[in-house]
């Protein structure tokens, strides 16, 4: 049975021009990147834009990426920062309305069982809190990795996590531990 190739090996392959390695890297990290973007911006189309642009930016910067560092937190920071930038720019930018065709070609998939509550609770957080909560519990980075990726003091990350979880807990009415 073949061993799963490391991100480092895939990046080396990508830098050597092997497209299949870029694809493996992309498919390995896309679901979490997209999910994280969506949970921050709460808009599937915008999340797709954010995650896609983050991957394109990451591919462009692969040559300067320090391969001793893990790839996932680096990518996650790009996603989270772009998502926050989008949220901040949104108020200054005209948004378009999405409409349905008279006969839509396919029904939109339903939200998950807990999604509506979860999204409502996340919406109550500040963008900064939402970013660290999503990075911690969706992307599963350690507080140290988040602090390093976002260039924040560890204490700031921990306090945002604590306040964010407290708010989520009060909205969801559930114990978080």
């Amino acid at each position: 049975m073949r061993r799963r190739r490391s991100d480092r090996s895939l990046i080396a392959g990508a830098l050597a021009g092997t497209e299949s390695d870029v694809e493996l890297l992309f498919r390995r990290h896309w679901p979490r990147a997209y999910r994280a973007a969506f949970l921050i911006v709460h808009d599937h189309a915008a999340a797709e834009d954010v995650a896609q642009e983050a991957f394109v930016a990451a591919v462009r910067r692969l040559g300067s990426f320090d391969r001793r560092r893990p790839f996932a937190p680096w990518l996650g920071a790009i996603v989270a920062n772009r998502a926050i930038d989008l949220l901040r720019a949104r108020s200054a930018r005209r948004e378009v309305t999405e409409i349905e065709l008279e006969q839509p070609s396919a029904a939109a998939p339903p939200l998950g069982r807990y999604s509506e509550d979860l999204l409502a609770a996340l919406a109550a957080l500040t963008p900064e809190q939402r970013m660290v909560v999503v990075m911690r519990y969706v992307l599963e980075y350690t507080p140290g990795e988040i602090a390093h990726a976002l260039e924040l003091p560890r204490g700031t990350v921990n306090s945002r996590l604590r306040r964010g979880l407290d708010t989520l807990e009060s909205y969801l009415g559930e114990a978080t531990e």
């Binding site: 021009g17 599937h44 797709e48 930018r93 309305t97 999405e98 008279e102 979860l118 978080t176």
Partner: protein, 390 residues
């Protein structure tokens, strides 16, 4: 279930489809910025090794002479990397509010808007980067916009009723038809000078370049009984070696399609010219040399419009609320989808197909196989659309 568990288990809808669209964009960016795969040589014979070392030494000695060339290559790589940073965008003319809208794909968000002279109708973009050409009919003006900065770099006046523009396949020239004056105006994009204005016939409207730029067809009217054919080969020059000069086209003949024609386009291999109808429901493909009918494609209520991408043609029927994907070689329909009413104009590039509805003010965004991604409402009336990246 705790907040942590909910976050961990959350799955966004449509993840798989979004992944495929994103991979298409990421792959495109990777191909732009990455050199070709290196070839490994396992064993090198001694003679070849000596020759290789000599070649390397020669290359080093010549390297100073090539520094300028290297700089230009580095610059080219940086430019393409910069382009790759930004995703594909649809450029849409907002006719009643006199704006050019820059719309992110696939989200449909308006990223920018650029004011342009009154009644912007047609639009053409010189590939990725370069310029955007917007034709404003009521104002009688043609606006050239820098694609990267989105600043207007020049506005040409003096037209009576310009309607349609097209950029030559090499990106060097913009052609603009003026139906009142019956002319075709040629603008050189490198220095933004008009190089020629050619009388082609009253009603000059849709036009199309052949892939080799040697031939241009111009439909004389929205219900054109005649099509003017032009050549860019200097008079007297003959044979395949004759170099086209798109700066100075000249009329070489006229062609009667046998039905009121509207839009037209050369297939990517240049063998057929597809002519849409202003009266019937079919699009007709003519042999580009003999002008004989090769095949007809049923689409829907007239007028239809068309765009080619790769091996396929995309055809719309705005009044029929229909868009089709058709084999450019055989004319067989391979996919079909509904479109918002009034979706006359379309564009296909960069892994997207988009159509703008003049009557609904929407932009419909599809995958290349015509799976609808979304429809967004942009303005009261969206007329023409192009796809490009900065």
């Amino acid at each position: 279930m705790s907040a942590k568990q909910q976050l961990h288990r959350y799955r966004a809808p449509d993840e798989r489809a979004a992944e495929e669209r994103a991979w298409s964009a990421v792959r495109g960016a990777y191909r732009e910025i990455t050199p070709r795969q290196r070839t490994r040589v396992s064993r090198v014979p001694a003679g070849i090794l000596v020759t290789s070392i000599a070649l390397v030494i020669s290359a080093v000695l010549l390297s100073d002479l090539r520094s300028a060339d290297r700089r230009s290559r580095v610059s080219a790589i940086s430019t393409s990397a910069a382009r790759a940073l930004s995703g594909s965008q649809a450029l849409v003319t907002d006719e009643t509010q006199s704006r050019l809208l820059i719309v992110s794909l696939p989200s449909g968000r308006i990223a920018h808007s650029v004011p342009v002279p009154a009644d912007p109708e047609d639009i053409a973009a010189s590939g990725n980067g370069g310029v955007v050409v917007v034709v404003s009919s009521a104002a009688g003006k043609v606006t050239i916009i820098n694609r990267d900065t989105l600043r207007v770099v020049k506005t040409f006046g003096g037209f009576e009723q310009p309607h349609i523009d097209a950029i030559s396949p090499d990106g060097a020239y913009a052609y603009v038809t003026d139906d009142s004056r019956g002319t075709l105006t040629v603008i050189r994009l490198s220095d933004l000078k008009v190089t020629d204005t050619v009388a082609v016939g009253v009603g000059a409207h849709h036009l199309a370049f052949s892939p080799t730029m040697r031939t241009v067809w111009v439909a004389l009217g929205e219900n054109a009984q005649r099509i003017t054919t032009l050549s860019t080969i200097q008079r007297g020059a003959r044979g395949a070696g004759a170099v086209p000069d798109p700066g100075h086209p000249h009329v070489v003949g006229h062609f009667t399609p046998g039905f009121p024609a509207h839009d037209l386009g050369f297939s990517p291999d240049g063998r057929t010219v597809w002519v849409t109808s202003a009266a019937g429901s079919d699009v007709t493909a003519f042999d580009s040399r003999t002008h004989r009918v090769r095949f007809r494609v049923p689409v829907g209520a007239p007028p239809q419009h068309l765009a080619f991408e790769g091996r396929f043609a995309y055809l719309t029927s705005g009044y029929g609320s229909m868009i089709e994907k058709v084999s450019a070689r055989t004319g067989h329909v391979v996919a079909r989808a509904r479109a918002p009413y009034g979706s006359f104009e379309l564009a296909a590039a960069d892994g997207y197909v988009v159509s703008a509805s003049l009557l609904r003010g929407t932009l419909a965004i599809y995958t290349p196989n015509l799976k609808l991604v979304r429809v967004v409402s942009l303005a009261p009336a969206t007329r023409e659309v192009a796809i490009s990246r900065p």
